[in-house]
């Protein structure tokens, strides 16, 4: 059956012309290849630089997922996590986008944005759900860099943020921290950016950043003070509580203001240095100028005098006590106390200007010895006075003591050694002793004796009264009571006297009635006087009115 001819009855196919080339099918794989290639090219073009960042912990970071963001725009992704060779830190590999090439440069900072709850508030809440991401702040440099050390805390100031930074110097940091707020008129205008110990270790330098445009309020004369804590003051005006904000009480803060009165209004330059004062009052008081050290020797107990106690000149606070040391003088066998104090002569204001002009300079500073010399001659003495009677705290007062004994004062000595005078408290003690003496002179003994005699007399008299007079009085009173009782008995309603009286009166009434009957009878029968009274007719028989027996009683 192999060579059979086609059956004649089968239908004839319709002959048509070819329409397209067979090889067109190869366009499909070519197209697919093109698409694949375009993907590769796209990925190639999109791939930016690869950088590594080291962090202390990889908490919240996930390979292939955690984005890197700049101003909340995703510029890359974490592609790998591993430990550094020394196992101290975590190395995070980040693939940056092509468009983010400029982030692989020096000065770019990376940090992990996690939800943070601090005293200053809560930040990064959005990351609670979406997971942490790496935040970025780019610098100015064009120099390429591919290995970075990540920050553990978000930077307080982003690059290019408007504003100025200033440097504050203070003795200690207090409760301030990076991120602590900076207030101007109780509005937050900046924050603490960093702090560091001074090179000599004698202070702390703080760098703060004040956001624009408020940075213009920082002038050359601006005073900064530590606004941490609560300032409670009790004065004649009542209790006053002063804080910047509740947050500063807990977390600390810095406040600044211009001093009152005329001052330099020129805005301060970038990175200008300022002093950070402890409180507002100190900050806003006139500048202190350099401190000077003086010394005083007291021959008395200074119980109640503490370091930091104020030193006042005619009531103006010009410094504070810095040391109290006990000394021994073998010659007098005494224990004088050496009190050291720093004073700020500039606080004397105009007086200082004039005195300093007169005293002249020494070692580049005002000659304190020559300045005090004439004053000491006129009776200037240091005294330890009681500042507070309740607590017995002392302060040092520099005052002109009238009729002060002449004191030796060495103008050339350094430090200046001011002569002292017994303090007001000592005087008070003397006066107290006087009073005690006077009290002692009072003859309490004889007074007591006399008083005792007098009292004995009185006792005797009273005894007499008790034994003689009082019993008599008692008998008299009893008699009187008896008399009154008799009277009372006689007059009472049920007494025999009263009853007799009643009987008598009844008899009298009956008698009167008999008399009336008699007179009536005599009026009608006057003859009776002669004949006497006839006998009474016999009584009439009773009517026949037998009382009927009650009905129903009969049977």
């Amino acid at each position: 059956m192999t060579e059979q001819t086609p059956r004649e009855d089968l239908p004839e196919p319709v002959v048509r012309k070819h329409r397209f080339s067979l090889s067109l099918i190869w366009l499909v794989p070519v197209l697919a290849a093109l698409v694949g290639l375009s993907l590769v090219v796209h990925a190639w073009l999109q791939a930016g630089p690869q950088i590594t960042i080291t962090f202390q912990t990889a908490e919240g970071l996930e390979s292939g997922k955690t984005p890197v963001k700049y101003k909340n725009v995703v510029i890359g992704k974490v592609t790998g996590l591993d430990l550094t060779d020394d196992r101290e830190r975590v190395r995070v590999t980040v693939a940056l986008n092509k468009s983010a090439e400029s982030f692989a440069t020096r000065g770019t900072r990376y940090w992990v944005v996690r939800p943070r709850i601090g005293l200053g508030g809560v930040s990064g809440v959005d990351t609670l759900l979406s997971g942490a991401f790496i935040g970025t702040d780019v610098g100015d440099s064009k120099e390429e860099q591919y290995d970075f050390k990540g920050l553990e805390m978000p930077p307080a100031v982003l690059h290019g943020a408007p504003g100025k930074s200033f440097v504050l110097h203070t003795d200690d940091l207090g409760s301030l921290d990076i991120g602590s707020p900076v207030y101007y008129r109780r509005i937050q205008v900046g924050r603490v950016v960093s702090y560091s110990l001074d090179k000599d270790g004698k202070g702390v330098s703080l760098r703060i950043f004040v956001d624009g445009p408020n940075d213009r309020f920082v002038t050359r004369d601006t005073r900064f003070w530590n606004a941490s804590g609560v300032d409670v003051s009790l004065s004649a005006n009542g209790l006053k509580l002063n804080t910047q904000s509740l947050a500063t009480v807990i977390a600390g803060g810095v406040a600044f203001s211009d001093p009152r009165g005329p001052h330099d209004n020129t805005p301060a330059a970038e990175d200008a240095d300022f002093a950070l004062f402890d409180d507002e009052a100190t900050a806003l008081s006139p500048p202190d100028g350099p401190p000077r050290y003086i010394r005083m020797r007291f021959n008395q107990s200074l119980r109640g005098l503490a370091v930091d106690a104020p030193v006042e000149f005619l009531g103006v606070n010009i410094g504070r006590v810095v040391s109290i040391n006990l000394d021994y003088e073998a010659r007098d066998k005494r224990f004088p106390l050496t009190v050291g104090a720093v004073i700020y002569p500039r606080r004397l204001g105009q007086a200082y200007e004039k005195l300093a002009a007169k005293a002249g300079m020494k070692d580049g500073r005002v000659d304190l010895g020559r300045m005090f010399g004439p004053l000491v001659a006129r009776g200037l003495r240091a005294q330890a006075r009681t500042g507070n009677l309740l607590t017995g705290q002392l302060y040092i007062a520099l005052d002109f003591v009238p009729k002060a004994p002449k004191a030796h004062f060495d103008e050339a000595a350094t430090p200046v050694d001011l002569p002292t005078a017994p303090g007001s408290f000592d005087k008070l003690q003397e006066q107290l002793a006087d009073i005690v003496n006077k009290v002692q002179k009072i003859p309490f003994d004889s007074i007591g004796r006399n008083l005792d005699q007098t009292l004995a007399e009185l006792d005797r008299t009273l005894k007499q009264v008790n034994s003689g007079v009082l019993p008599e009085l008692k008998g008299t009173l009893k008699d009187a009571q008896r008399t009154l009782g008799s009277a009372d008995n006689a007059l009472s309603a049920d007494s025999p006297l009263q009853q007799n009286l009643g009987g008598t009166l009844e008899e009298l009434r009956r008698m009167a009635r008999s008399l009336r009957a008699l007179t009536d009878y005599l009026g009608v029968h006057p003859e009776a006087l002669i004949r006497g009274r006839p006998d009474d007719p016999p009584p009439a028989p009773p009517e026949r009115t037998r009382p009927r027996a009650p009905q129903g009683s009969k049977p």
Binding site: M1, T2, E3, Q4, T5, P6, R7, L10, P11, E12, P13, V14, V15, R16, K17, H18, L22, S23, I25, W26, V28, P29, L31, A32, A33, V35, G36, L39, K65, D126, L129, S130, G131
Partner: protein, 206 residues
């Protein structure tokens, strides 16, 4: 050896579409007189077409696996998954059976199709007579399982439509699923365009 006569030898040709048997036309480009479909002795250019489609499918299969196919957002946590990472995640999160199904549908089936079709094409081109019957059944198997590899695409499409709870939970399709769909479609076309009769043509040529 006696064998069944061929249609060509008998001078007849069958229509692919309506099954009408008619005489072999004189030239190319003949059409079925009943339904108008083009008449061919064999599927036209079958080997080349199958090769082309298979190649295209293979090329597209690469981005289908590399690119993520699905993005799940739950409580702001964005998760992009490729096919493999989805399988791994399913396995880790305690659904090994689901992971196996997805793995079979998305990896095993397409790869099997590439391999089987490739083998069939090669052996047919080379006129091999090796295991003809098994090859025929392989071909039938490939045609049969072809549709099932669309599972992933269906899953993504369904999830995208069903899981829309805004911030809480959301599923989005990603470009990978397009490539995967194209791969599946192209492999299906490839297996369709392959003419199994070509295998037997050779065997009868002796």
């Amino acid at each position: 050896m006696s064998r069944a006569p061929r249609a060509q030898e008998l001078g007849i040709i069958g229509c692919h579409v309506c099954g009408l048997v008619c005489r072999t036309p004189a030239g190319d480009g003949a059409g079925c007189p009943r339904c108008g479909a083009a008449l061919h002795r064999r599927k036209r250019n079958s080997i080349a077409r199958t090769w082309a489609l298979l190649l295209a499918a293979f090329i597209l299969y690469i981005p289908a696996n590399v690119l993520p196919i699905m993005r799940t957002v739950s409580l702001g946590d964005v998760d992009d998954n490729t096919i493999i990472s989805g399988v791994v995640e399913l396995w880790i999160k305690g659904s090994p059976s689901l992971a196996a199904i997805v793995f079979a549908a998305s990896i095993v089936v397409p790869m099997t199709k590439f391999l089987v079709l490739g083998t069939l094409l090669l052996s047919t081109q080379r006129g091999s007579r090796w295991a003809l019957r098994q090859r025929a059944s392989l071909y039938r198997a490939v045609e049969f399982i072809g549709y099932w590899s669309m599972l992933d695409v269906f899953v993504v499409a369904l999830l995208t439509a069903l899981v829309r709870f805004g911030f809480l939970s959301q599923v989005e399709p990603l470009p990978g699923v397009v490539f995967f769909g194209l791969t599946v479609v192209l492999t299906m076309f490839a297996s369709m365009s392959f003419d199994p009769r070509l295998m037997w043509d050779i065997s009868d040529d002796d």
